[in-house]
Symmetry: D2
Subunit: 321 residues, 4 copies
């Protein structure tokens, strides 16, 4: 569709890696790349403090700093990196690059986690929706114009309302009705799971899907199920956050894109943004204004996820945007 990415000759092999921090990791990785003449076109690094580092940071309170942190052998931080190598400067295929890099990664210890993917290989997304179509419509438009680095393989709705909008974009829509009684929703979720997994997607996007995923599905799609919540989390968890925001009288409303975990609206945050409101804005106005933030925050978070820019570190994310 869009040839924008390809015209930039920017097919890349993208390495993402996390491991216990120690000197020499960057040198190890970049020397490996330099040996075959690879050109690094984008590089991000982050050293996350270990427990005592965090504790030390915590002592720098507004009531004054505390004692300096002690660095003991057990106080290990964590190292994260993302490297994008120009594919045309790599003299072998991705599979061989992976094989060769495995040797380098082994030196960083058994806890090391890494991935190497080809930016030229299009990624797949499946969307879950209910009745609210603004995020769906926005993502369909981005996919059509090549702004989203993925194809939308299918849209699954627990209401049939958005079938028309989906199919007008040439995308398959599956209607999976959900029973009123939450206790009886198991089979519906099972059907959703099968439909989703049939596409082996890189991202399962809850684009204003108004059903809470059961814990098993959260675990099954861990690290690839992405939700857009219409509040600035952790404020206003759960249902009707704009009503909660109105009642509390906040002066900014927000939206949060996060990974789905079993604890409701508590997964690692990928992206957030806010919009100013005032006393004259009622809930209706907030819903309208909020849509503009939800669209952009979800699209941004999803793109970062698809491009391998998001690494999870406990309850936090590292985003090499």
């Amino acid at each position: 569709m869009s040839s924008a990415p390809s015209v930039r000759d920017d097919r890349r092999f993208v390495l993402t890696l996390g491991c216990p921090d120690r000197p020499g990791i960057i040198a190890g990785i970049t020397s490996f790349i330099a040996e075959f003449g690879g050109s690094i076109v984008e590089a991000g690094y982050h050293s996350a403090a270990g427990p005592s580092g965090l504790e030390a940071a915590a002592r720098v309170t507004t009531e004054g700093p505390g004692a300096p942190p002690s660095n003991t052998a057990t106080d290990t931080g964590w190292f994260f990196t993302r490297q994008a190598i120009k594919a045309s400067t790599v003299p072998f295929e991705l599979a061989e690059l992976r094989d060769r890099f495995a040797g380098v990664a082994a030196e960083f210890g058994p806890e090391t986690e890494w991935q190497l993917h080809d930016s030229g290989e299009r990624r797949r997304a499946v969307l879950l929706v209910s009745k609210d179509g603004h995020c769906l419509h926005d993502l369909l438009g981005r996919a059509a114009s090549g702004e989203l680095p993925a194809t939308i393989e299918a849209v699954i709705g627990n209401h049939p309302d958005l079938a028309g909008m989906t199919e007008a974009h040439g995308v398959k829509f599956h209607y999976v009705p959900f029973p009123k009684d939450p206790a009886e929703r198991g089979p519906a979720f099972e059907q959703v799971r099968e439909l989703v997994d049939g596409h082996d997607p890189h991202a399962v996007v809850l684009a204003r899907f108004m059903q809470v995923l059961p814990a098993e599905l959260c675990a099954h799609w861990a690290g690839k199920a992405i939700n857009i919540h219409h509040s600035f989390l952790p404020s206003f968890v759960g249902a009707r956050p704009y009503h909660q925001a109105f009642a509390r009288g906040v002066k900014l409303i927000g939206a949060t894109c996060h990974y789905v975990t079993a604890e409701l609206d508590a997964g690692p945050i990928i992206e957030q943004d806010v919009s100013r409101i005032d006393h004259a804005d009622d809930v209706h106005d907030m819903v309208r204004q909020g849509r503009d933030i939800e669209r952009v925050v979800l699209a941004r978070g999803l793109r970062w996820h698809l491009e391998g820019r998001v690494l999870v570190h406990g309850r936090r994310t590292v985003v090499f945007s």
Copy 2:
């Protein structure tokens, strides 16, 4: 100090009023003003929905709108206004203006609350501080350059650290030590109360004052005690909000200026703002960045309060900024 306001010939008589809503209030007020040829240079109006209006708004959920609201006689909303009248166009003194207006206000019912103040009469503020000086330093600078529509009458600290900074600006500093045991802090609070009340201030500003006011003081200073909290409330109530924000992994940090009430960090919000952070920012960075938001949010909220722009409506504020 600064003659900026006066050069604009903008001495104003400022009316603020809240009453049960019904047709004709604006006409009543503005006709009264027009009769003596008064020139309204700034006018703000707000009709807050009554209970059933709010409920109706609540039905416009993201799952679809509900039934239209019923308008019964008991479903009364509330009306708020702020009118700034050019003083030079008023042919009598403020006291007489008040007397005359009392007759108009009486028609709007016994629940009506209103005030008329003279913008040419400088307002008085007293500041409470602890060790953190950034908000204090900022307000002292604004007062000195005429940016703050008030004189800072005194600064009271539960630590002596900020005495020098205060006195360098020619402002009196009172050090009131607080005992470690919260149960024994009563006399200290009593002393603070006397010092504050001695100035009969229009605003009591908790400029990063790290003591929780007892309920009696909250009630005593209701509507004029203003706090700056270093989080985007209602997230991260209480102590060390930047640490809470770091642990939760939010992508924006914020600050909130609000009226002090007996429930901690839960008073009506006057102003809020946020600043973007990322994974590389530790608590120390957040403290530094947060200071820039705290300063501006407090200064803005305080100015609006002093200029009679903030009206309280339950747990929410109407701000005619």
Copy 3:
């Protein structure tokens, strides 16, 4: 389509008015409304300073304030208001309301300009496009979900590329080819004019239309032709503003929604917003990020225009948002 507005029982008669400023105008208008028991649900007022007021403001420079302004008889400012009256509280039809109000307006002098429109009467918009579809797609989605207070009557393109996207939303697309030689484009513009005028639209939206309108068309559509320019005007007028922004090394990019006038990209600004970029963002990234601002800024400006919230005052706008 969307019943969101109607469910709020908010059919309104909306008055917008501009006239030479003098005491008593608000009283005159609101007394007229109060007489028949009309309920004002939204009210905005603005007194724009006259020439000497502006000059006085100009003297308040950062090098210190100048002399106070003199108020002479010839120094007339301008008064603007927008009043939204709940239609259900008006005991007669719009036509009669207009007739009755004409008498009130006459008292404000011959220069007075005013309009009264019925918010329940859907407005009509026609869109002009080229190849870039993101603004078109966004507006089609808003119209479909009832977020845009208008129907999109037709889309006209000087390229055929966006016909499919338009027609998928059930909207008529007209392809009007433009000759390469600017000197020969007269007949094409004439055809566009006829197509547009056939719908008698309230708004003619240049949704990334890459042709400069001839001066006659600007005059013909004055006050209803709205453009979205992909820079923070007045920076980067004309072609390829993101390239200009990249070359200049700015740290924020922006978008501007403005009325079209004969002077290129110099018409009264309705709305603007910006987005942060950094050194790592190339023109391609700026184009992508810019689309998110363009969409929102255009949608916001267009909605305000359609709801009668924008009044033009010389080269500036008054926006009762």
Copy 4:
């Protein structure tokens, strides 16, 4: 003053480097550091496209992408990096580190420019001011609380107004009167130059200094003279930008921190930010609101400069913030 930085044990040796881009540079630098066991606590990289890369980017216009870029031997991009090495992990002194690194840098070609500085060595700033004190007051407060990584060595004013504020902070103030006739200001600038150079500062800050530096001084202080301009450049170059902004009717006002060059307000931009205004804000309001942006933008840009985070690339900056 503030012990906040030191408590974090974060004395660092900071390397900044720019050179023609080619594979292997990162590996060369990080291998050098790894050899002696150095711990990199912060790393930033940027590959700026060469001329044909820029041209290719330029072809990705909104009218559609152009042909792919050709990579010829002469099309060299530029590589920038900033590495912060934990000083306690470096087994020799800064001087020796410099000597050793010189050998590494030599391999990157004769155009390579690099610096290595010790974050533990406090930097020196000299401030130039006129009558407007808000930026001065803000920087004095930051310096006093340890927020600014520099000592303010002296303040020089072409008006005596700010002497009191400066001296209250224990900083030396020099009053250098400037003649009315611009042609006769040479000796005054000469005196300023001598006063400034006597402190051998890392930064010469024009904190709302209302005199245009002569070209020789711009050249003499190239890369260390920093100005805060009260507009969102390149809009509103020169005098009275808020008046220009008011006349143009923009909806956001801004401030720009940039390096001073001989062309007025056209030097490389370090940082910018904006604030929303509306039709009700006159020039006086814009001046007030603008001060809040100016303070923060200048403080942020100055800190980045002092910490070696800003590298200049032609008319643009690379900021490793």
